[in-house]
């Protein structure tokens, strides 16, 4: 069983010669489930549609899925070496806008710009690869920063959808190879798969799986892991570029935001296709089939006549269920985690004393500050020795913050040092800071919560809706707060069920949850969020506190709570140890499953709180109001010195990250820079923050 699951390793020795059939079978076997689902899906769409399969259908399906398939292939390569690439969608758009804005009518120009577009995408991949492989920076943070910058550049190249993809290019990528028989897009997907198959046969291909499977072992055998990683990002970039060309062909135009919608589907395709997020296992064939499945979902909605209010929830559920199935099939650690949960429960029931003992040890630990006689020198030196490591992760963001405020003051003059300025700064920081607390805790455990955007929206909409109905009842406000917080906690619980019980990687699980939550919100509101906002929430954002908004008190309370929870409680200590090493934490008696569950629940509670605050701030509930907070929240967490792989983080730093983001926002707005420049500046700041931190990937 174990061996069978690993069979996408390229056959290294003779079997392929002596047993060609078996070798082929071994190669295809892991992708069989997803292949079956793909066939089932296509049959279902055709059957329910009540039509026979026509060339038109095949050709449009092929052109539709090809860009997603190729982009997801690129992501697959990166994930195979235990990487992660958030910039995929933006790079696809880059290639797309280059072709749409530059390629002229002459065939030579079209070929030239097509090649340049792919090379530009490869170049961005090389930047990712250099920073990750040779500077040892964390993949998630690097690619987040690069994503910001590339999407800014895209808007500079093509400020609005349009441009013109010449008809020649368009036909080459999305037309017909043989009219009425073979659509060009299918050929391109096959070419890409052949490229992948060839790459797999090379030393580089073997190295990809080796480094992804076990980097130390690979290095010990003489595989150059840094170089392998670098080229995996370059190859991924080239695939994204190719995907961009196919997108240009299919849409016949450029769209600077077009890739954004692809990103989540890309990750879903990789996971459903059977590639393991931990690296070393999987491949591109499954990814392509999964891309096909994902694109068929909308056709399924159509042939089943699902109403527009239900469809998003339905689609979200299909993706989530598929992810869960794919994870179980690929032999995740879920079942083992499940056993550990059972063991934990049994232990809790049987030996309650164990917990008390642990608490006692923890309390001793907390009181046991480094003994003073070991620390010599002045008070300052002692302080440095005691808190030096913490300072090292917190200081950079505050240095940048001071620099940013200085630049603000230089450019905008004396208006900066006023009550107005600091009031705006702190009020605008509040929501990001609340979300960053929950996100920070999840990241420190080694996960990530991408469902916060829709969780905030759902909670906000729910609160406004309930208050609209119950507003007149006495005591309604506390009750509504309670219900909304419970809803937040349940969202966290749903995430943790996927992560802890089934073993789905947190990133993927929370993407799935996000889709489901967005569907639920639409269903609850019927498209128009109604209701009103309690006056007490509105009051928080007035100016009733000697010129400041009362919300600022909440902000400082949050800082205290965040610092206390992460750095001073048993829960925080467990979170940090789970993030450092699950195995060690588990062996040391830390209830790993429970800690991760609580981290997600905490994040859900933070989302609920942010939802309440946000409707107070805006004065009404709006659909999708939380979505724009997701990326800033992540940026704040990383800039604040949190390690993306978990195990290290401090809320004072995260809080500084949130402040820094707001300061930059105010700087950009105050100096009237365009949205494109805003994105580029944001990416540059995130990047410089982590370069400053010298974070090594553990």
């Amino acid at each position: 069983m174990k061996l069978a699951a690993n069979t996408e390793y390229p056959p290294t020795s003779s079997p392929s010669r002596s047993y060609p059939f078996q070798a082929a079978w071994l190669g295809i076997r892991p992708t069989l489930p997803v292949m079956l689902v793909a066939v089932a899906m296509f049959t279902a769409v055709t059957l329910f549609g009540g039509n026979s399969i026509t060339y038109f259908q095949i050709s449009s399906t092929a052109s539709g899925m090809a860009p997603l398939a190729l982009a997801a292939m690129g992501e697959t390569v990166v994930i195979l070496v235990r990487g992660f690439d958030l910039s995929a969608g933006a790079i696809v758009s880059l290639s797309n806008v280059i072709v749409a804005s530059q390629a002229g009518e002459s065939p030579a120009n079209q070929v030239l710009w097509g090649c340049l577009a792919v090379l530009a995408a490869g170049g961005v991949g090389a930047v990712n690869g250099y920073l990750i492989a040779y500077r040892n920076l964390q993949p998630i943070v690097v690619t987040l920063a690069v994503m910001f910058m590339v999407s800014g550049v895209n808007l500079l190249i093509l400020p609005f959808p349009g441009g013109n993809v010449p008809i020649g290019t368009s036909n080459f990528f999305a037309g017909d190879l043989v009219t009425g028989v073979i659509p060009a897009a299918i050929v391109h997907v096959i070419i890409a798969l052949l490229i992948w198959a060839a790459v797999k046969k090379t030393r580089f291909g073997t190295a990809l799986y080796a480094v992804g499977g076990n980097e130390e072992a690979a290095t010990a055998r003489g595989v150059r892991s840094a170089r392998t990683k670098f080229f995996s990002y370059v190859l991924a970039g080239l695939f994204y570029g190719y995907a961009g060309l196919l997108l240009s062909g299919n849409t016949g135009s450029g769209d600077p935001l077009g890739g954004d919608a692809l990103l989540l589907s890309i990750f879903a395709a990789v996971v459903i296709g059977g590639t393991r997020l931990g690296g070393g296992r999987g491949g591109c064939l499954g990814t392509v089939l999964a891309a096909f499945i994902l694109m068929q979902i909308s056709s399924l909605m159509l042939v089943l006549s699902v109403s527009t209010n239900v469809a998003p929830l339905f689609q979200g559920l299909i993706v989530l269920v598929s992810i869960a199935i794919a994870t179980i099939m690929s032999g995740s650690s879920g079942s083992t985690t499940y056993q550990s949960v059972r063991a934990e429960l049994a232990a809790m029931l049987a030996v309650p004393r164990k917990i008390r003992t642990e608490r006692a040890i923890k309390v001793q630990g907390a009181q046991q500050l480094p003994v003073n006689d070991e620390l010599t020198g002045s008070a300052f030196q002692r302080f440095l020795r005691q808190y030096g490591n913490t300072l090292k992760i917190i200081a950079p963001v505050y240095v940048l913050l001071v620099v940013a405020i200085m630049i603000n003051a230089l450019l905008l003059g004396s208006t900066v040092f006023t009550v107005n300025y600091f009031n705006s700064l702190m009020v605008l920081t509040l929501i990001t800071a609340v979300l960053a607390l929950g996100q920070g805790i999840v990241v420190i455990t080694g996960g990530m919560d991408l469902s916060v955007g829709q969780a905030v929206t759902l909670c906000g909409v729910l609160a406004a809706g309930l208050y609209g109905q119950l507003g007149d009842v006495a005591g309604a406000v506390p009750l509504i707060f309670f219900i909304v917080l419970v809803a937040g906690a349940l969202i966290g619980l749903l995430n943790s069920i996927g992560v802890v019980l089934i073993g789905i990687p947190a990133v993927i699980m929370t993407i799935g949850t996000n889709g489901v939550l967005s569907g639920l919100t639409l269903l609850y509101t019927n498209g128009v969020p109604s209701g009103t906002v309690p006056a007490s929430l509105r009051w928080l954002f007035g100016r009733d506190l000697i010129g400041f908004a009362p919300a600022i008190v909440v902000l400082f309370a949050l800082l205290a709570v965040g610092w206390f929870v992460i750095s001073r409680t048993r829960f925080g200590w467990r979170v940090l140890s789970v993030g450092s090493s699950r195995a060690v934490a588990g062996l040391s008696g830390v209830p790993v499953a429970r800690t991760i569950t609580l981290a997600f629940v905490f994040s859900g509670l933070c989302s609920a709180a942010a939802g309440l605050l946000l409707i107070g701030y805006t004065g009404s509930a709006v659909l999708n109001m939380g979505e724009s907070y997701l990326l800033p929240t992540l940026a704040a967490v990383f800039m604040g010195g949190t390690l993306a792989t978990g195990g290290r983080g401090h809320y004072v730093g995260i809080f500084g990250g949130a402040l820094l983001l707001t300061t930059i926002g105010m700087l950009v707005t105050g100096t009237d820079l365009s949205h494109a420049v805003r994105q580029i500046v944001l990416g540059a700041v995130v990047l410089s923050a982590i370069l400053f931190l010298h974070d090594k990937e553990t």
Partner: protein
Amino acid sequence: MNMLRKLYKVATGSVGAMALGAVLTTGGFADVADAADEPKVYFSMGFVGNNWMTEARNMITALAESRDYRDRVEFEIQSAGGNAQQQIQQISGMVQAGADAVIIYPINESALRQVIRRGCQAGVEFFVINGTDDGTCAHSVKIDGYSLGQTRMDWMAKELNGEGDVVVLTGIPGTTFSDETQRGVEESLKENPGINVISTLNGEWSQQATRARMQELLGTKTWDDIDGVVAAEACYTIYQMQVEAGRTPEQLVPCAAQDENGFRLAMLPEGTTEHSVGMRGYSTDSMIWVIPMSLKFALDEIAGADVEKMQIFQAGVVTNDTVKLCETGSTSELQAGCNVFPSDKVPNDWQAGFWHPDLPQLDFEAVTTGEVSE
């Protein structure tokens, strides 16, 4: 054998997913039954989930199910979830399913050229909202974004006697309609050199984004530095923020934008409702009626009438002189010229400019419930 077990797992998994799907979709299956000779018309919405889209969906549903239409058309709506690729896929699915006409609210209209071209070859009529005249076979039903931007800024210049510091708020940068409107604003600025734009902010057609960007700006500026606001949306937020900052009704800066109900309420003479302060404003209709109107055009075209390829519509304008409160929003009231609704009936960011005299039956009830009273 392992493989068998795996297959079994997949099978049970898929059956589970299908069953789940079946349970969820029973609601959706409602009335597909009576497929006869009536023409099949689909509406592909770029996305769902804002007031404009929801009102549009309600209005076109109400029209399709009204007495005059229900026996003439088999009508269905699908949404593409904001994904241009998915919309292409969806439209080709509609063609495949035997559509006679497809109405499209595009995510990126230039992305649809290919699929539209192929669909036309299959004999399908297309009606694209805000499409451009790019030589495809589709009909375009267009809201003139350029003149929207231009007239808003022209009005502002007049309001400020040609001189003043103005804040401009755009829609979502990178989208066609936002860009078009912004070009109109810039054109008008060329002719009004006395108007100085202090800042161009990204308001995303949303109250929330508008508030955040304005608050960033107000960190270094005060309301005294601002003489007027020209926005793609969210003058209500501009009104609200000034009230919160303690400015009196006389101090409120003039604002030009779309048709949020809250904004129009604030424009009403002081005392009309509790939110009315006579704020100076220029409010353009968001013309949701173009969606049901497209259904009318589609059926006309199928019936053999020669509907014009490119129809450009100008938005109706509501100023302080013409703003008028509706009591119930009935057809007769709307015909008499009312254009804003009581605050307890709709949210303040709800779009009030939905009605058109050519489709009089689509009144307040139709746009809020999706049903026409008959």
